[in-house]
């Protein structure tokens, strides 16, 4: 199933046959995937493909109906979110989700809620400020007054404070200008390299995600339909057409998209 070779680093997150429901509606149906240490893994897919649900199920905000999630060899499915954070998985949610009336500094400090080592947290805070100097400048101001891009930086910086081994990033490019998106992804790359944070990245913006990631999965209607190295996916005709907007030769009466989509399921 997995096409990575054995020489690659060890698996830190292994998901097997996961199923999650919103009430009676199946949101993800039998997802299996792996994240290896030190990598950036991206999950691509259109709206409603189940990407966010997948992340929520990993971080414990939603409980799965079936399947297992193993983090560092230990099963964590169905646990409360605070226990999952303590194990080293931090979820940077979609749409920023900051604490609007608290100051920027308080927001960042809350990221270390599960940590008790004050000196280490102070160090981490300096580290966050070094990646996001604008946050240091604005540290006394209410977080709700930040711009969208700054809020996204705050959400990522706040996540770093938990000293995660694995960071789940949900649509960091949402609502940001192309330039800001580039900037955020550059920082994500640097964090991955310099701080050794493994990243699992969910994106609709497939181009920037595949440029950043080492490995990619494509989700559709709650299933994984493709998985490969980011580079291979980047060159794949299907991904190019559906997610990168590269047009193929003229389709037969414009029906091609629909037909090809059909063969994936």
């Amino acid at each position: 199933m997995n096409q990575q070779n054995d020489a690659s680093p060890k698996t830190i997150l292994k998901i097997d046959n996961l199923e999650s429901y919103y009430g009676p509606i199946v949101a993800i149906r039998g997802v299996s995937l792996e994240v290896r240490e030190g990598q950036i893994v991206t999950v691509l897919g259109a709206n409603g493909a189940g990407k966010t649900t997948l992340l929520k199920t990993i971080s414990g905000v939603m409980d799965p109906e079936k399947g297992t999630i193993a983090f560092l060899g230990e099963e964590i499915q169905g646990q409360e979110p605070d226990r999952v954070v303590r194990k080293g998985i931090v979820h940077v949610p979609e749409g920023r989700e900051i604490f609007p009336l608290l100051s920027v500094a308080e927001n960042i400090e809350l990221g270390a809620y599960t940590k008790n080592d004050k000196a280490a947290s102070a160090n981490d805070m300096e580290m966050v400020y070094s990646y996001f100097p604008i946050l240091k400048e604005r540290r006394a101001q209410a977080a709700g007054t930040l711009s969208g891009g700054q809020q996204q930086m705050l959400a990522i910086g706040r996540g770093l404070m938990a000293q995660p081994k694995l960071m789940l990033l949900d649509e960091p490019s949402l609502g940001l200008s192309p330039l800001l998106t580039q900037e955020i992804f550059e920082i994500i790359r640097r964090l991955n390299k310099e701080q050794r944070v493994t990243m699992m990245l969910v994106e609709q913006n497939a181009r920037v995600a595949l440029d950043t990631a080492d490995f990619g999965y494509v989700m559709e209607l709650g299933r994984i339909v493709m998985e490969d190295d980011a580079e291979t996916l980047n060159n794949s005709k299907d991904v190019q057409e559906f997610y990168l907007g590269v047009s193929q030769e003229e389709s037969q009466r414009g029906q091609k998209r629909w037909k090809q989509r059909k063969t994936w399921r």
Partner: protein, 291 residues
């Protein structure tokens, strides 16, 4: 002279309303539920303290009874959320409203059964003492109410802005989902907030019972305190205190200078006025989320 006298006793009353309103707001901010039994929490706190302190009951003395009563109410609030309300998660607001109203009735009858429905007052070391400034006579009990309210407010301010758990409580009330993502145990935080508002209610009750008699139906004061919370802007702690003080001061003044009956409707008239002119309350804290 008359005016200042009324102002002083109104201020003392208003502090009690304000403290009950504070309890409303604490719970509302943390859990988005309104505890309509908050007034009865106040009443129960007063009676628990009377039960420990008064010679007719356990007779342990004022200074032992006060911390005990505060502790009992804090534990009561915590356990109520932990054992009952938490399991209502996902139910409609209406069922939570009805549940807390019913809790109020239950507490009233329990208190009546244990301590009788007759008015009692708390035996305090400073009962009946007063201080005179020129022609103004200020009861020590009334002054104490104001002083204690100021101290408690300061403590709460420090707690919410400086301690880790206090900031986490603010965070959980501003964005519950994000608090989950940060690993804040939101459910336990909510129970702690219920405990905190139980303790605040106990303080309000002790102050109330030390400056006058209390009977089990005193819990209905909660409705006035609810108006106070709404005047201040439901969701703002300083607003709740201010709303309480406004109501407390307006009541005696309107009964002294206004036609009969006005003092009973004055709090609600102010509530209406505020809702018309400034629908979010005096200190509204609504903020739109950026997309």
């Amino acid at each position: 002279m008359d005016f200042i006298q009324l102002l002083a006793s109104g201020l003392a009353n208003g502090c009690v309303y304000g403290l009950i309103a504070l309890g409303f707001v604490l719970i509302y901010k943390a859990t988005e539920a309104v505890n309509f039994a908050q007034g009865d929490f106040m009443m129960l706190g007063a009676f628990v303290c009377i039960g420990f302190a008064n010679d007719d009951f356990m007779g342990q003395g004022f200074w032992i009874a006060v911390p005990l009563a505060i502790l009992v109410m804090a534990v009561f609030g915590y356990l109520f959320n932990w054992g009952v309300l938490r399991h209502m998660f996902g139910q409609s607001q209406t069922s939570i409203v009805i549940l807390t109203i019913a809790l109020g009735f239950i507490l009233r009858f329990i208190a009546g059964t244990i301590w009788s429905h007759e008015p009692v007052s708390l035996e305090t070391p400073f009962a009946g003492q007063d201080i005179r400034f020129g022609g103004v006579v200020l009861g020590v009990d009334e002054m104490l109410v104001v002083v204690v309210t100021i101290i408690l407010t300061a403590c709460l301010f420090v707690f919410f802005s400086k301690t880790k758990i206090g900031v986490a409580m603010q965070a959980a009330s501003q964005n519950q989902l994000a608090a989950y993502y940060m690993g804040i145990p939101v459910k336990r935080i909510q129970s702690l907030v219920w405990g905190l508002s139980g303790a605040v209610a106990a303080v309000a009750g002790i102050l109330f019972a030390s400056k006058g008699a209390i009977d089990p139906s005193a819990g209905l004061l909660g409705i006035k305190a609810f108006a106070a919370a709404a005047i201040g802007g439901f969701g703002s702690l300083p607003g709740a205190l201010l709303g309480g003080i406004i109501i407390g001061i307006v009541e005696p003044l309107s009964s002294r200078y206004g036609p009969p009956g006005v003092s009973q409707i004055a709090p609600y008239a102010i509530l209406l006025l505020v809702l018309i002119l400034r629908p979010g309350g005096i200190f509204s804290q609504t903020q739109k989320k950026k997309v």
